[in-house]
């Protein structure tokens, strides 16, 4: 985990080498773009996987993020770091997916109210069954505490969840998180505080 945090800190600043890669990619060099992808794809996948909680959606977010970056790379003007820029895309795509999922849940929940068949599984159970708790690797490390934390995380609002995710698990500084959200460091601080308060209330003395 420490390595992840160190990498996040290093990656947050564009090096000359990265600038060159961005310029080459902007000129249509596919290999340069792939190199940029390789530099950041683990962090983006980790974010997507944590935010969405299942591999299919995480992969979709991963693809959508980098395809969007590929299509709009020419509009990148070096006004922020590439890291911030790509994270901003990834967080927006992740939030879109969460919202879509919420809408779907609401629709199906309405349907299941009128559903007469009691054997039909509720959508939330179906979704839970596809979370990473059900995959072998997660099971390997699966501990009660992890599951309780995951449940508690579900009680956070999208923004609180995002800020907590980016600060606690991805190791980004709040100033950068503010930038990624198109907001300020102070706002990010408020979200982080609220998120930890809620989590403590949910988890009590774990």
């Amino acid at each position: 985990m420490e390595a992840v945090l160190r990498r996040a800190e290093q990656a947050a600043y564009d090096t000359d080498e990265e600038k060159l890669l961005i310029e080459q990619a902007q000129n249509g060099n596919r290999e340069a773009f792939e190199e940029l992808v390789r530099k950041h794809d683990r962090d983006i996948l980790r974010l997507a996987f944590h935010m969405l909680g299942n591999r299919e959606e995480a992969r979709e977010v991963f693809q959508e993020t980098f395809l969007k970056a590929f299509r709009s790379l020419n509009r990148f003007r070096f006004e922020s770091s590439f890291y911030t820029w790509i994270y901003r895309i990834a967080t927006n795509v992740s939030l879109d997916h969460l919202r879509k999922r919420q809408t779907l849940r609401e629709e199906i929940s309405y349907e299941s109210d009128t559903e007469t068949n009691p054997d039909r599984p509720a959508l939330k159970d179906t979704l839970a069954a596809t979370t990473y708790y059900s995959n072998p690797e997660r099971r390997l490390y699966g501990r009660e505490i992890g599951e309780r934390i995951q449940e508690a995380l579900k009680t956070l609002s999208e923004k609180e969840r995002l800020v907590f995710e980016l600060r606690h698990y991805q190791g980004l500084r709040l100033r950068m998180i503010g930038e990624i959200m198109g907001s300020t460091e102070e706002t990010a601080k408020n979200y982080l505080f609220r998120a930890t308060q809620k989590l403590r209330a949910q988890l009590g003395k774990v």
């Binding site: 985990m1 390789r38 991963f62 600060r167 606690h168 982080l192």
Partner: protein, 312 residues
């Protein structure tokens, strides 16, 4: 500041997000206020508990491989759809009409060059033994001439001698097993400027990877190509022959040297089934993967040793 406000600072201090002045202010307050000190301790314990769960949050190692592969396919498809003049960089400067004008001018220039060289180059005067140049009596109408150098210009006979390269557009249809088809595919695999073309060529060649020359090209691509997509496609082509000695050796090399976790994960997975009865091989893989950065690769290496029952 009230204790309520210090609660917020306690959280931020545990994430090292306080400025120097704020931190010293908080420390002073904590030394004076037992209630906040207790809140600090509780928050500290809470953060430690959360931190314990961090290791469980890593994504499955094969998901990265899968995602990268899917992205590479998407990018391939996207590039195929894009006409080259629609690449954003070009589109600003070069509209299709401007490109047409430029192409016409270039074609006119080339036609003039061809006309002049047809009149002046003597076939017998091409220098022999110079990187095996082919003496041309004429330059093909659709040939692109480049690297033209004047070897000699004799004013008395009004003769000019050139060397250079002629590149002709090529369109060829042939069976996969034909020599020409193979030669063209091998050339495409070596095209350092075009990873997309290399990936396509490797994908096509992978259909015949049982044949020794094709296998060697795929092994070379797996071990040397800069593009991850090409290396993964070469790996896919070689995977059915993982039991062959040369492929197995190449896989071990890839396991040792490939910078990409996805390739190493895929390779160690491919080696596992053929290693179950070979203690020496399992030991070799374990040694190669012992210090791997990737947990999955390391565990897999150890697992192989356990499987053959040679771990002490």
């Amino acid at each position: 500041m009230t204790c309520q406000e210090y609660q917020r600072q306690i959280v931020l201090s545990l994430y090292e997000e306080l400025h120097e002045g704020e931190r010293s202010g908080l420390e002073t307050h904590l030394s004076e206020c037992a209630g906040c000190r207790q809140a600090y301790e509780e928050h500290h314990d809470f953060c430690n508990t959360l931190a314990e769960d961090k290791s469980a949050w890593d994504f499955p190692s094969d998901l990265l491989v899968e995602s990268r592969r899917a992205l590479a396919n998407d990018l391939d498809a996207l590039e195929k759809r894009r006409s080259w003049w629609r690449i954003p960089t070009f589109s600003v400067v070069f509209t299709p009409m401007r490109m047409l004008e430029s192409a016409t001018l270039i074609a006119l220039g080339l036609a003039c060059g061809v006309y002049i060289s047809n009149r002046q180059v003597s076939p017998s005067s091409a220098p022999a033994g110079f990187d095996a140049p082919v003496a041309l009596s004429t330059v093909p109408q659709n040939g692109r001439v480049s690297n033209v150098r004047i070897v000699s210009a004799d004013a008395s006979t009004a003769t000019v001698e050139f060397t250079g390269d002629v590149v002709q557009p090529l369109r060829f249809t042939g069976l996969l097993e034909d020599d020409t088809t193979r030669r063209l595919l091998f050339s495409a695999v070596q095209d350092s400027m075009n990873p997309g073309s290399r990936a396509q060529a490797v994908e096509v060649l992978a259909r015949q990877s049982s044949e020794p020359p094709v296998k060697q090209v795929l092994i070379h691509a797996l071990l040397n190509d800069q593009s991850l997509n090409v290396r993964l496609k070469a790996f896919e082509g070689l995977k059915p022959f993982a039991a062959d000695e040369d492929v197995r050796t190449a896989f071990i090399q890839a396991l040792m040297n490939d910078p990409n976790d996805g390739v190493r994960v895929a390779v160690v997975d491919a080696l596992a089934p053929i290693t179950k009865d070979e203690a020496e091989m399992a030991s070799r893989i374990e040694a190669v993967t012992r210090n791997d950065d990737n947990t999955y690769v390391r565990l897999k290496g150890q697992g192989l040793m356990q499987m053959v029952g040679t771990q002490k």
